[in-house]
């Protein structure tokens, strides 16, 4: 087997796994606080749009990253107000956030750039070869010849995983997800910690959208995230609410996505006789399969006990 074929494939898989990985790890932290954020797809999409606009108008990728995060957070605040401040049902709130984002992003993009013309593009980031490491055969080109944004994202994922599993803040976050009444009695602010969770989650989803645009696609189109936010939620379940396993799931998704893209290219795109739609469906089919397998293995026992239940002080659940 020729390994030269595998290196660009795995390098691409690595890049493809970052947006969904960021969103999934953020979602994981949020769910550990007991808040089921189903709005990820919407936050990612909003982040993708605002990142594109930031990078386009200010001509700077890094400003794009910031505006992308801000776009995600804006919907995170909305989700927080709905689920934490007024205790609305989390599932309905999440669906509404996604629907709002689908409409709003399309509306904003459509009013700023008139449809029918060539879609405007932004400059991407240059690849950053890490000295020495990038020269390692096989591993080097896959892991150490990426954009700086990819490295920063990876660092953030590791940092947040460590925060959740190894710090007292992480412990407090987990406590309010398992036993909010007990956490409250112990003097923790359940609402405050859940706000922290949703803000982290929305920022990560927004960043994921930003990475998708700035490191990969360089343009925006309606519903460009194409379900990655939903896949991120599936990965949280697959990773059994452990952030590093969740990210491992994202890497798996990246490999599948890279393979299907490769098949499409090899098959010759739209005009090919090979049913490329069936390969396009591959990431969704595999996500379904993985989701079912992890559910079969051991039901929901790894799930935070208070997930999805609004916390109202002094009320027994």
């Amino acid at each position: 087997m020729n390994i030269d074929f595998l290196i660009p494939l795995l390098s691409m898989a690595f890049v493809l796994s970052i947006p969904v990985g960021l969103a999934a790890v953020g979602e994981c932290i949020c769910q550990r606080t007991g808040l089921l954020n189903l709005g990820v797809e919407g936050m990612m999409l909003m982040g993708a749009l605002t990142a594109f606009l930031g990078a386009f108008y200010f001509d700077s990728s890094w400003i794009g990253v910031l505006t992308g995060v801000a776009g995600g957070v804006s919907l995170g605040i909305l989700m927080g107000v709905l689920c934490i401040s007024i205790k609305a049902e989390q599932v309905v709130s999440g669906i509404v956030v996604v629907l709002l984002s689908l409409g709003l992003t399309s509306y904003l993009y459509g009013s700023l750039f008139h449809v029918g013309t060539t879609p405007p593009r932004i400059e991407g980031l240059a690849l950053l070869h890490i000295p020495l490491l990038s020269n390692i055969p096989v591993i080097g080109p896959i892991l150490f010849q990426q954009t700086s944004l990819v490295y920063a994202s990876l660092a953030l994922i590791v940092l947040l995983s460590w925060m959740l599993e190894r710090t007292s803040l992480g412990l407090a976050l987990q406590a309010v997800g398992e036993k909010p009444e007990a956490g409250d009695a112990a003097g923790l602010s359940v609402d405050g910690l859940r706000w922290f969770g949703i803000l982290i989650s929305s920022a990560m989803a927004g960043l994921g959208g930003a990475v998708l645009i700035i490191a990969q696609l360089h343009l925006f189109a309606d519903h460009i995230t194409a379900g990655r936010g939903w896949i991120a939620i599936a990965l949280v379940i697959f990773g059994r609410w452990k952030p590093l396993w969740v990210f491992a799931g994202a890497l798996l998704f990246g490999v599948v996505d890279a393979i299907q893209l490769k098949i499409q290219v090899v098959a010759g795109g739209i005009d090919s006789a090979i049913p490329f739609e069936l390969f396009q469906a591959l990431p969704y089919v595999i996500t379904m399969a993985v989701l079912v397998l992890s559910a079969m293995r051991a039901r929901r026992n790894a799930q935070p006990s208070a997930l999805g239940i609004p916390f109202i002080k002094g009320q027994k659940h």
Binding site: L82, V92, V96, L100, G103, S106, G227, I233, L291
Partner: protein, 362 residues
């Protein structure tokens, strides 16, 4: 301008029997009215930002939806798929099962029903149309059953599975109309036309097909089924507590699958009606997001079929009027999706604020 849209949504509440029952209903109606006004104002602000006078935009919207019989017929035609899907969604949502896969179930139903209608061997609409509808219901029902079965058997979250299945259904649909089902004589990637005998007849004088009657019959049936039969009671029970349901002999797993078959089946039926009554072929863009708009219809209708009827007409009118707005003022069509989502959002907020206010009173 808000008064034009508020009453139909508020009509969600069925006629109350006594004054004591009337008062909270009136309050709910008032709250819905305020929420709608707020949503319309925020929508107006959006138009303003894009440099369009909001009042003029809304006037165009009203004119575009109700200004002529032709426009109103378009509103009715659009109401049909939304309403049929929403009625099924109301049944599952009441059971606390959040099926957001109606978009996919619609497409799968349209494929099956459309295929039956196009390839039907006997030249008789009396035979082909019911067969196509049954096939569409069955196919959509099976697509929905996957979600129900996975949730009942292994507690796989239905929101995620139903959504992922949307993408898979859309790709299957797209593959089939570009490949095996493609009309070899056609220029565009679409199926052969539905033969004339299988096309749904128009209701005389209304300018819309008989799908409207099917939709209205379903509203009546489900309004009765959900509020006046033991089955409706069972649905509410598994929605509030699975353990209570089990205690009185209701099997939540079985109900979950059944309800997903009903909900998916109705979405599939809506797909067939769209093919047989509106598009007359399987083609790209068959559903401009009906499955998602129907979620908003169900929520705006407060999970009541009659409420959904009002909400479906309102959202269809916004869409048809939105097309006029797009042509006259250059406002993107997605303004409509945004406005609908804002409506749902404000209703959600006002409902919960009202609930909390009641909690404080007690």
């Amino acid at each position: 301008m808000s008064t034009n849209l508020a009453p139909p949504v508020a009509a969600a509440a069925p006629p109350p029997a006594t004054i004591t029952r009337l008062l909270p209903r009136l309050k709910a109606i008032a709250i819905s009215g305020i929420a709608c006004a707020a949503a319309l104002m925020l929508g107006g602000l959006l138009f303003k930002v894009s440099g369009v006078d909001p009042l003029a935009a809304y006037a165009t919207m009203l004119e575009g939806a109700f200004g002529s019989w032709f426009a109103f017929a378009q509103v009715l035609t659009r109401t049909v798929p939304l309403l049929i899907i929403a009625v099924g969604l109301i049944a599952v949502f009441r059971a606390n099962i959040w099926n957001i896969g109606a978009e996919g179930q619609f497409l799968i139903g349209a494929l099956a029903g459309g295929f039956v209608a196009i390839e039907f061997p006997v030249e008789s609409g009396w035979l082909s149309i019911p067969c196509a509808m049954l096939a569409g219901f069955a196919a959509g029902g099976c697509w929905g059953a996957i979600v129900g079965w996975l949730r009942a058997k292994w507690e796989v979250h239905e929101v995620i599975t139903s959504l992922l299945l949307n993408f898979i259904a859309a790709l299957v649909f797209s593959y089939l109309i570009r490949g095996p089902l493609r009309d070899p004589m056609g220029f565009l990637p679409q199926s052969k036309d539905v033969p004339a005998f299988s096309q749904l007849p128009f209701i005389p004088g209304l300018g819309t097909n008989i799908g409207l009657l099917v939709a209205l019959a379903l509203v009546a049936l489900f309004a009765y089924l959900l509020s006046a039969t033991p089955y409706g009671m069972k649905i509410r029970m598994i929605g509030s507590s699975a353990s209570v349901a089990r205690a009185v002999g209701v099997d939540p797993s079985r109900m979950t699958i059944e309800l997903m078959v009903i909900s998916g089946g109705l979405a599939g039926l809506a797909g067939v009606i769209q093919v047989l009554g509106v598009q007359y072929a399987l083609l790209e863009g068959l559903s401009p997001g009906f499955g998602f708009t129907a979620i908003m219809v169900a929520l705006l209708g407060r999970l009541h079929p009659v409420g959904a009827l009002a909400a479906a007409v309102v959202l269809s009118a916004i869409t048809v009027g939105g097309n006029a707005m797009q042509i006259t003022h250059g406002i993107p069509a997605s303004a409509v999706a945004t406005l609908s989502a804002l409506l749902v959002l404000f209703l959600l907020v006002s409902d919960h604020l009202a609930k909390r206010a009641r909690g404080v009173e007690q």
